[in-house]
Amino acid sequence: MSKSSKEHHLAEFKDRLACAQKHRDTNEMELARAEYVQALTFAEKHLGPYSPEVDQACYRLANFYAALREPREELAVLERRLRIRQGNGDVTEIVDALQDIALCHASYDRPTEAEEVYQEAIALCEETDEKHQPVLRATLLYFGDFLNEQDRHANAVPVLERGLRLCARSKSYPSISGSRLAANLAVALFALKRPAEAVALLEQALPVLAHRSQPTTTITRRMLYALATEYRKQKRYADAERWYGEAIYHASLSNSSRDNAFILDAAADNDLKLGRAERAERRLQKAIKQILRIRDAHHEDVLGIRQSLLNLLIPAERYAEAETVLTEMVQATDHPDFSDDRGRERFLNNLGFVQVHLEEFPKAEANIRRGLETADEENSAYLIKNLGLMFQKKGYTAEAICEYEKALTIFEKHFEPDHKVAVFIREALKELKG
């Protein structure tokens, strides 16, 4: 083939790939498919069946099939790409292709096949060969991550440690690879209840990964959250705030509403420990907005964050605001998919409780009685106690005593004698009878 003719073919091949990408970007998937397949056929015919262009077309097609979740087609082009690279005999290129095949198996829930391919890739590399080291480190990182995803944390530790050992023996330490391996190792160590080791690694690795010059990734975001939460557990609230701050910033960059909402929820809890109730409330309001972008109002994630907000409003005796939140929660439980009766009873009970304090007695009674319709004996204790509270607030002493006594009998049967609600009821009864 003459030089100019090859250049012409290369240019046409590139045009076809660009055209396919353009269709993909505008969501014209069938047109994109046709262009990708034509690009592959063109490369086979004009540039050779083992050419780098066929390799490239296979890779782009694999990405395309992955986006459409077409596993058979995806695997076929990835295996073809592997065969091209095996023909060339460059180990780093072969390992790179094997990594993609392993990721493909893992993404279609074929863990046995994925593990076999990872093991094959690792076996091909020679640790002492400097050329192999970067690709071996990457394979160990992906394999470790895969094992963590499979909840095989004990298996992940030696794989990731091997990667870190390899980093330490490199001529110049590969900081980014090393910090990624360290962050993944921390995931495994947290799961294996070895938080001190995980924290020691994250304290060094996260500043590297979370630096403004680095792209935000799921592992960075989650480990920032994990480190902050560990500090919170250790009552190092100021340190926790710093890392929650980093986590919030990274979550805002990632557009991951779920991560963002959970981080804000945890940071709000930390704010309360720091005596920053106003900031906690702002963060919870934001968390609710975030989670409602991706979840329905009756989803447990939404209800959980709304509950965090209530835990702030009710102790602050901000009953009118609590009533608004609880009304939304109760309405959400009317959804046909919501099946947690205990949850609904708890929300109705809390709504009744705040309405008693707002002296909206008819509404309070209706909600408490609605809760009682489905409650079992144990859970009815709280509802009956609030019925007693309502009568007490209304000044109906006899009715209040009757309900309190009913509730106390249940509390004494199901809970410890010094349960705080039982103590409250005894005090109230003493006052009413006295």
């Binding site: 440690e161 870190l164 050992r165 980093c167 330490a168 023996r169 330490y173 900081s175 980014i176 090393g178 910090s179 360290a182 060094q204 690795a205 500043p207 590297v208 630096h211 403004r212 010059s213 680095q214 710093r242 701050g245 980093e246 919030i248 910033y249 805002s252 920053r276 106003e278 900031r279 702002r282 934001k286």
Partner: protein, 174 residues
């Protein structure tokens, strides 16, 4: 061409941005995720005005932070190093400090010369500041509160590398 205060107001109206107009400046505020003003609110206060006969647009987050004068020199050095590092890593907008009263603010200047200011340009300038304030808030607080300067990525990598090499030796000795 250049721009005027009236023109900026009409662009803000079109972008549905709430603002107040006082004398020769427009004042507005943007919600932030992390940055907190001196009252602890997640709000960055900004002023917008044309300069150089309208040939430059200036957007400024005034009073972003305050480092009261007569601080320990170490703290002043930490803050100035942090500001320098942030400016080194940032395009277009920058932090500046008035060493007389310790006011630290974020500014962006858009040179218009003979071009007409567009809504897109104005919005980019205005939204850049809360993003930058959020991005740098943790570093600024560490410098202002604890006198710890912002490290460069190279310094962080070096610390990490040293820690991991020592850790590896420790594991090898076990």
């Amino acid at each position: 061409m250049s721009t005027t205060l009236d023109e900026i107001c009409s662009l803000l109206d079109s972008a549905k941005i709430r603002y107040g107009r006082r004398e020769d400046r427009i004042r507005t505020g943007f919600e932030t995720d992390l940055y907190e003003d001196h009252e602890g609110d997640n709000c960055l206060h900004m002023a917008i005005w044309p300069e150089d006969d309208g040939e430059t647009l200036r957007v400024q987050a005034y009073g972003t932070y305050l480092l009261p004068p007569a601080q320990f020199p170490e703290k002043l050095a930490a803050v100035q190093r942090t500001l320098n590092q942030i400016n080194w890593e940032t395009k277009t907008a920058h932090f500046e400090m008035d060493i007389q009263d310790g006011e630290i603010r974020i500014s962006v200047d858009i040179p218009l010369e003979d071009a007409k200011l567009t809504e897109r340009q104005l919005m980019r300038a205005v939204k850049m500041l809360p993003d930058l304030a959020d991005r740098c808030h943790s570093a600024m607080r560490q410098a202002l509160d604890d006198g710890i300067p912002l490290a460069t990525h190279e310094e962080l990598c070096l610390r990490f590398d040293t820690f991991m090499i020592e850790r590896d030796k420790g594991l090898g000795e076990r």
